[in-house]
Symmetry: C3
Subunit: 249 residues, 3 copies
């Protein structure tokens, strides 16, 4: 395993424009972190660690080794929910124990999991753990220093019992494409997907259908996605985060 | 005092996605600036230096020493409004003299203030001072070179007479939380805040109330903020930038 | 000519917040690219290489030498449209052959143009060439290594026959300003611009008219732009990408 991260990837529901990402980054700089920091995803489903967990999982195959994911979708901030550090031979993950890391733990076989306990950070009235807690924790990891905490059993994690796949919309992108939590592996092109009252055929890619046509395809991160060529599928079908989808005619 | 900035923090109303931030950063690179640049806030209240001034002030305690703030909320760009450089033992600030820097000047006791005069930049038909004026000025500061200009008296700044606090909404974030210009220091938890026709109780943090509940709390930057647990408070209350708030029953 | 780029500028319709920009950047880091990367524009007109081409062209005079533009507005991704590398004594450009680079080729006199052929990248089911194709191609350019491909004649490019100017709205920014594809060079201030059923006078800059006033001006990138002082011109006039404009009374 790499001793230290070579990249920090921020996975959050902070949105863009506001000061949340900026203050988190300023804190990393204040802590003398020198690794490059990228905004991997800043509009993960807000307040929704479950949908976010499946989205985060789908990104793993395309991330460089020695990436540290700072993952903050955290409606329970300020409560006594645990904070976690997960590591294996390829990645590190920091995040709240609310299910957000459940899918990456399930996917990665041999992981070490521990709580993160930073006594100098006051527990009360914390509403911005991204800046005040996870950023200094990330700095410890980046500097190869020990992170205080206790070992955690894999089965004790929130979300440890979640299914392999989620037959729901878990993300809407700016084009109006709707990502589902369904794996795209080994699917027949003959399958049809039902969503928003419609039955959608498969297409290989956007340019293989005429403009406006609705279809499903396996997206660039391996998940089943509902899209339209040069049009907004989510709007046409009335899809939102959590909308159910199903295979069938 | 540090001789040179170690970090450039951009505080603007440029929005995200468009080329404004990108062109400003390209200009910094063209000027051989090597300090890290972060987007501290890119959706400061548009055309509104007054609300923006209180927001910027609230960020100071959480920024690393030796930060240079390039601050551009500048509806008067192209007019003869002055450009300012403010510095003290901790920070540098560049921005227009339209009130945007008034609150940081008020908060920081011993500051040096000067105009910024870059004769090579044509005054007429300037509409993008962020790129064409403040970026080269920032490069001078970053390189420890003198910045041409005249000393300015603190009391002559636009906004020098603005109050310590603003009983208004000064910012809406992507979750729908509404930040006010009221300081959170020394407030009793028994206080109620009136906003949007409703009277809101205090809560410590998001997870201490049930989903949907409206409340006020002291946000992570020390300001009074109106929020709802896992819901959009601004939409529910009809709050916009400038909406008045008041303590009371 | 510089041997290697000193800056990577991303020009895309990916939007912000989503994982598209982040995954592209992660891939650049995985490929050991060390040049700084900036988001030059992330909300280029979606699915619209033609409008995007004129916007990209307008940015060139303000970019540092030795910039590499990674340009992805690519509704035909996955089809057999060619991928291009364009270079001259100042810039490199990577992008699809769908017109997106047509205007920069027209503007730059002596350019070399070639296809980009990366055999190891599978052609089928590619839907994210930004990450999977253009990022590794950019890495080759950044490392000064040869990029596999064939020479391309300038006249064979999609968009080679497009006009010098476009009397249409090609971009809407977050303030509601509407950029047109009309050059601002040599225009009389007496001209009026017709757009959205209104006839708009010229103004030098935002601060030279009263709040709310609609006007046209030559924007900071040399294009004719429709704006209102401290207000949203596009909304007031009902302008969208593609809306025609014309000089006249």
């Amino acid at each position: 395993m790499q001793k230290r991260p070579e990249l920090i990837a921020l996975f959050t529901d902070f949105g863009v424009g506001s000061h949340y990402l900026g203050q988190l980054k300023a804190r990393l700089i204040a802590e003398r972190v020198t690794q490059p920091v990228i905004d991997l995803c800043s509009d993960a489903p807000a307040f929704n660690p479950r949908a976010s967990a499946y989205l985060l999982e789908s990104f793993l195959p395309y991330m460089p080794p020695a990436s540290l994911f700072v993952s903050v979708v955290d409606p329970g901030v300020g409560s006594d929910r645990r904070a976690l550090l997960v590591k294996d031979d390829r990645f590190w993950f920091l995040g709240p124990d609310n299910g957000l890391l459940a899918r990456v733990v399930a996917r990665r076989k041999a992981v070490e999991i521990q709580t993160v306990e930073l006594p100098e950070v006051t527990a009360r009235s914390r509403t911005f753990d991204g800046r005040d807690f996870f950023a200094p924790a990330a700095a410890l990891v980046c500097q190869g220093r020990p992170v205080p905490g206790q070992p955690v059993f894999r089965d004790s994690l929130v979300g440890a019992d979640w299914p392999e796949e989620l037959a729901e919309v878990i993300y809407l992108d700016s084009y109006g494409n709707a990502v589902t939590g369904l794996s795209g592996r080994g699917l027949s092109d003959d399958l049809c997907l039902r969503a928003g009252g419609r039955t959608l055929p498969h297409a290989e890619t956007f340019s293989s259908v005429s403009p406006g046509t609705l279809f499903w395809y396996v997206n660039a991160n391996g998940l089943v996605e509902i899209a339209a060529s040069r049009a907004n599928a989510a709007k046409q079908l009335g899809l939102t985060i959590g909308t159910s989808v199903a295979w069938g005619d």
